[in-house]
C-alpha cells in the first residue's frame, strides 16, 4: 500500500534519514521502533508531506505521494501527531469536525462521528467542552478520533502512548486494535517497544536514520539485540 524506497532526508542540516526503505501492506499494523532522535518522527512527517526530500521515493497505491500535507490527507493518509496537538481553543466536537475538513459527504461524516463517539464514550460526554480542558489521555483519544474523522485508509500514529499513565497506555493500545478492525492500516511509531511489538504484525528498527532490522513483530521481539536495547532485557 505504502512503499518507501531509499529515502534520504536532510533536516536542519542533519542527515536525518539515510536510505530508508519500508513497505506497508493493506490491513497491517507495522511498527517502527527506535530511540529518541532515530528519525521516526522525521519519517512520518516526510510521508505526511511536511518535509522535502531529494533522494528516494514514497509511493502510495503505486503512485508517487505529493509533498503537500493537505493532498496527502486527501489521498487517505492521516497522521496523529506526537504531543496530540488538539485544538485547545475549540470544543471537542469542533476538533472532530475539523478532522473531516476535506470531506463533503455530510451523511457519512455524521455516521463516522457516531462511530468515534462509540469508540470513545468519554468524548461524547465532553462534546461541548474545550479540548484544552481534557486530560492527557482524553486528548490522545481526541487526537485519534479526529484522525479517524478524515476516514483514512492509512493512519500514522506518532508516539500515541507518550506521557500517559500505565493504565491509559494499555487502553491506547487496545484502541489501536479496535481501529484496525475498522479496516484501517496502521503505521505505529513508538518508544514503548514492548507494547508496540505485542500488537504489531511487522516491525522495523530505526537507528540513527537507518533501518537496522526488519521482520515480523515476533522475530524482532525475540531478537537479543532488540531485547537489550529496547526491551530492557539483560543479555
Amino acid at each position: 500500500m505504502l512503499k518507501v524506497e531509499n529515502l534520504n532526508v536532510y533536516y536542519g542540516g542533519i542527515h536525518a534519514l539515510k536510505g530508508v526503505s519500508l513497505n506497508i501492506n493493506k490491513g497491517e499494523i507495522v511498527t517502527i521502533i527506535g530511540s529518541n532522535g532515530a528519525g521516526k518522527s522525521t519519517l512520518l512527517n516526510t510521508i505526511s508531506g511536511f518535509l522535502k526530500y531529494k533522494e528516494g521515493t514514497i509511493s502510495y497505491k503505486e503512485e508517487k505521494l505529493p509533498i503537500n500535507p493537505n493532498k496527502v490527507v486527501k489521498l487517505g493518509i492521516c497522521q496523529v501527531p506526537e504531543g496530540r496537538l488538539v485544538f485547545a481553543n475549540l470544543t471537542v466536537e469542533d476538533n472532530l469536525m475539523l478532522g473531516a475538513y476535506l470531506r463533503k459527504d455530510t451523511k457519512k461524516i455524521k455516521e463516522d462521528l457516531e462511530k468515534v463517539y462509540t469508540l470513545f464514550p468519554r468524548l461524547k460526554e465532553r462534546e461541548r467542552q474545550m479540548a484544552g480542558t481534557l486530560s492527557g489521555g482524553e486528548q490522545q483519544m481526541l487526537a485519534m478520533g479526529r484522525g479517524l474523522m478524515s476516514d483514512p485508509e492509512l493512519m500514522l500514529l506518532d508516539e500515541p502512548s507518550l506521557g500517559l499513565a500505565p493504565l491509559l497506555v494499555q487502553t491506547v493500545f487496545d484502541i489501536i486494535l479496535d481501529i484496525r478492525k475498522m479496516d484501517k492500516t496502521i503505521l505505529l511509531v513508538e518508544q514503548n517497544a514492548y507494547k508496540a511489538l505485542s500488537i504489531a504484525d511487522r516491525a522495523y528498527v530505526l537507528e540513527q536514520g537507518r533501518i537496522k532490522m526488519e521482520g515480523s513483530a515476533k522475530e524482532i521481539a525475540e531478537n537479543p539485540l532488540v531485547q537489550e536495547a529496547y526491551l530492557g532485557a539483560k543479555v
Partner: protein, 292 residues
C-alpha cells in the same frame, strides 16, 4: 452627566473604528505571530481610494465605500504574497517579517507622497454635519455612522469566525499550524483569507477615518493606536482587540473632554507601557514567548 455621556458616545464611535483596524493586526498575529506594520499603510490607502472613488470617479458613497474596501482587500493579499510568503517559504525568523512589514509601510507612505503629494485632502460632505439630538446629548451623524458600520462589520466577522468552516480553520490554524495542515486544511489559503479580511476592514476603517479627519500620507500614524489597542487587549485575540479598542477610544475621548486633547496620546502610550509591564500578554491575549 451630559458631557460624560457625550464623551462616552464619541469614545465608542472612535473605539469601534480602532477595533476594525485592530482585528486586522490581531488576525495576522494570531496565525503568523508577527505584527503586520504594513496594515497602517493599507488603511491609509483605503482612505485615499475612498476619496478618489468619490471625487475623481464620482461614484455614489456606498459604491465608493465598498470599492475602497475591496481594493485594500486585494492590496493586503498582494502584500502577503510579495512581502511575507517568500519569507515563510524560507522559514525566516519573525524579526524578518517585521522588517519586511515596516519596509512595506514606509514604501506605501512614500509612494503616496511621491505620486499624489503630501497635501491634506478632505472628503466631500457625504453626511450632513448637523448633529442628531438624543435627549440632552447631541451625536454627530458621522460618529453614529462610524459606530454602526464598525459594529456590523465586527458582528459579521465574529459570525464568520465562529460559524463557518473557514472560520474554524482560521481558529485551528491560529492554535497550531502543523496540526491544521494534518487535518487537510490548506494553511496557505487560510493566511490569504486572514489578510483579505484584515485588508477589507482596513479599507472601511480608512474611509471612515478619512471622513472624520482628512486624508494625508501619514494617516497611518493613527493606526498605531489601533495597534496599541490590539496589544492592550491581547494580540492574537479578537475579543481582546475589540475590548482594547473600545476602552482606548473611551479613555481618549474622556481625556480630551475633561483634561486636554494634548494629553490624549500621552495617556494612550502610558497605557500600553503599563499593560506590557504588568500583563505582557494583554488583557485577553494568548501567552507566547516572543512578542515580535
Amino acid at each position: 452627566m451630559t458631557q460624560f455621556l457625550q464623551q462616552l458616545i464619541n469614545g465608542l464611535s472612535i473605539g469601534s473604528v480602532y477595533a476594525l483596524m485592530a482585528v486586522g493586526y490581531s488576525l495576522v498575529y494570531s496565525i503568523m505571530n508577527f505584527s503586520n506594520f504594513a496594515h497602517g499603510g493599507v488603511i491609509m490607502l483605503g482612505a485615499y481610494f475612498g476619496y478618489y472613488y468619490l471625487t475623481a470617479a464620482g461614484l455614489p458613497f456606498p459604491a465608493a465605500f465598498i470599492g475602497a474596501a475591496l481594493t485594500t482587500c486585494l492590496l493586503a493579499v498582494i502584500i502577503e504574497r510579495g512581502a511575507y510568503k517568500p519569507l515563510r517559504e524560507r522559514k525566516a525568523p519573525f524579526l524578518y517579517f517585521i522588517i519586511s512589514a515596516m519596509g512595506t509601510s514606509i514604501f506605501l507612505e512614500n509612494m503616496v507622497i511621491a505620486t499624489i503629494g503630501p497635501t491634506f485632502r478632505s472628503y466631500p460632505e457625504v453626511l450632513s454635519r448637523t448633529p442628531i439630538q438624543i435627549g440632552s446629548v447631541s451625536v454627530g451623524r458621522l460618529d453614529l455612522t462610524m459606530f454602526f458600520i464598525s459594529a456590523i462589520c465586527l458582528a459579521l466577522l465574529v459570525f464568520f469566525i465562529d460559524h463557518t468552516k473557514m472560520g474554524k480553520a482560521i481558529q485551528a490554524t491560529a492554535y497550531n499550524i502543523k496540526a491544521s495542515a494534518l487535518m487537510g486544511i490548506n494553511t496557505d489559503l487560510v493566511i490569504i483569507v486572514v489578510f483579505a479580511l484584515g485588508g477589507f476592514f482596513a479599507g472601511i476603517a480608512g474611509v471612515l477615518f478619512g471622513m472624520k479627519y482628512t486624508v494625508y500620507p501619514q494617516i497611518g500614524i493613527i493606526t498605531n493606536k489601533s495597534f496599541i489597542a490590539a496589544v492592550f487587549g491581547g494580540l492574537g485575540s479578537l475579543p481582546g482587540a475589540v475590548i482594547g479598542s473600545i476602552l482606548l477610544g473611551i479613555i481618549e475621548t474622556i481625556t480630551s473632554g475633561y483634561f486636554s486633547s494634548q494629553y490624549r496620546d500621552l495617556i494612550a502610550f502610558v497605557l500600553l507601557i503599563a499593560v506590557l509591564v504588568f500583563k505582557p500578554s494583554g488583557l485577553m491575549g494568548k501567552v507566547t514567548e516572543d512578542k515580535a
